[in-house]
């Protein structure tokens, strides 16, 4: 039999290969409803063309809906190894967005959004 097994029989190999994800959050400065979908298609287009189709699929980048987070914030979940590609593609999209620091958990991300609303109030007013 292949792989290591713990006393209880669960395969240890699953924990060793656990995939790590990161959450990137962007603040959409002008969110008129259509920006959301247009931003996403532009972002995916940039990611495919800048980093290649294979890396795009490997990055597993997708939108995450989180409760109690304003529609002005958009959260993208991606694999840790591809977070640089995702941030780069986000920066080069043609939409007025501000990229917040990345987080490893949704809880931490919510905290950052709260901080952003305090420190960046002059951005949200404009």
């Amino acid at each position: 039999m292949f792989g290591w097994r713990t006393k209880k029989g669960a395969a240890l190999s699953t924990t060793l290969t656990k995939k790590k994800y990161r959450y990137a959050c962007v603040y959409l400065q002008n969110n008129d409803g259509s920006v959301y979908s247009r931003f996403m298609s532009d972002f995916y287009g940039r990611l495919i063309e800048l980093c290649g189709s294979i890396d795009f699929h490997k990055s597993n980048a997708r939108i995450v809906n989180v409760d109690a987070v304003s529609k002005k914030f958009l959260i993208v979940k991606c694999k840790l190894e591809y977070v640089d590609n995702v941030l780069l593609s986000m920066y080069f999209t043609n939409y007025p967005i501000i990229i917040l620091p990345i987080s490893g958990t949704i809880k931490q991300l919510k905290k950052r959004i709260q901080e952003f609303l305090v420190y960046g109030d002059f951005l949200t007013d404009s």
């Binding site: 400065q29 940039r46 063309e49 800048l50 640089d84 941030l87 780069l88 920066y91 080069f92 043609n94 939409y95 007025p96 967005i97 501000i98 990229i99 917040l100 620091p101 990345i102 901080e115 952003f116 420190y119 960046g120 109030d121 002059f122 951005l123 404009s126």
Partner: protein, 206 residues
């Protein structure tokens, strides 16, 4: 604890405010900001001296009191290179490159003047993917040329809008994509800026 190596963005074209500075420090990890001020609206606060670098356009200064001036402001004189090699850039601290034509002759001409060669990310933010790829290639080439001819390579956001501002993380990604070691880049830029502040610069008054 005081940070030894500061993160520097020497070209932010936004209206100065305390809130903006705090935001950039807290969220983007930027420590030193290069900003242009109109008329007399300089930041006179002594504590801000280490944080704000005043940018002035070439030709705006009539006297040669660059570096540490009488009014306790630290100035950096900037000029834009658009491909014309005949244009004079003497007494310039930072040359912002917009066009790479004839850049090599400029580097040869001003070799040893302790000048900074600046690339702005805002120039290509809205370009197509092909242009972006080319820009990364050019950045690496200019970086190597700067090392060869003793210039300081500077990567700045050139932000005219809030959405064009760049965080430390994105700066490091941009450097990594151009095969530039980010630790070395930040160290070199810190040393160069400190030298400028100390006035250890050669200015050719001819």
């Amino acid at each position: 604890m005081k940070k030894l190596v500061k993160v520097i963005d020497l070209n932010i074209n936004l209206f100065y405010s305390e809130k903006l500075i705090n935001f950039l420090k807290t969220f983007f990890g930027i420590d030193v900001f290069g900003m242009a001020f109109n008329g007399d609206s300089y930041i006179s606060d002594r504590q801000k001296k280490d944080v704000i670098v005043h940018r002035k356009r070439h030709g705006a200064v009539k006297s040669f009191d660059m570096g540490e001036s009488n009014s306790e402001h630290f100035f950096l004189i900037g000029s834009i290179f658009k491909g014309n090699a005949d244009e004079s850039h003497y007494n310039v601290d930072i040359l912002t490159v917009k066009n790479l034509s004839n850049i090599k002759s400029i580097l040869k001409k001003y070799n040893g003047k302790n000048m900074g060669i600046e690339f702005l990310v805002s120039d290509i933010k809205y370009s197509d993917n092909r242009e972006i790829g080319k820009w990364f290639y050019n950045m690496k080439w200019i970086y190597e040329m700067c090392k060869k001819y003793n210039f300081q390579f500077i990567l700045s956001s050139g932000a005219n809008k809030y959405c064009e501002l760049i965080s430390l993380k994105v700066f490091n990604i941009l450097l990594k994509e151009s095969d530039i070691e980010n630790k070395k880049y930040w160290n070199d830029l810190n040393v160069w800026l400190e030298n400028k502040k100390r006035g250890g610069t050669f200015y050719d008054t001819n």
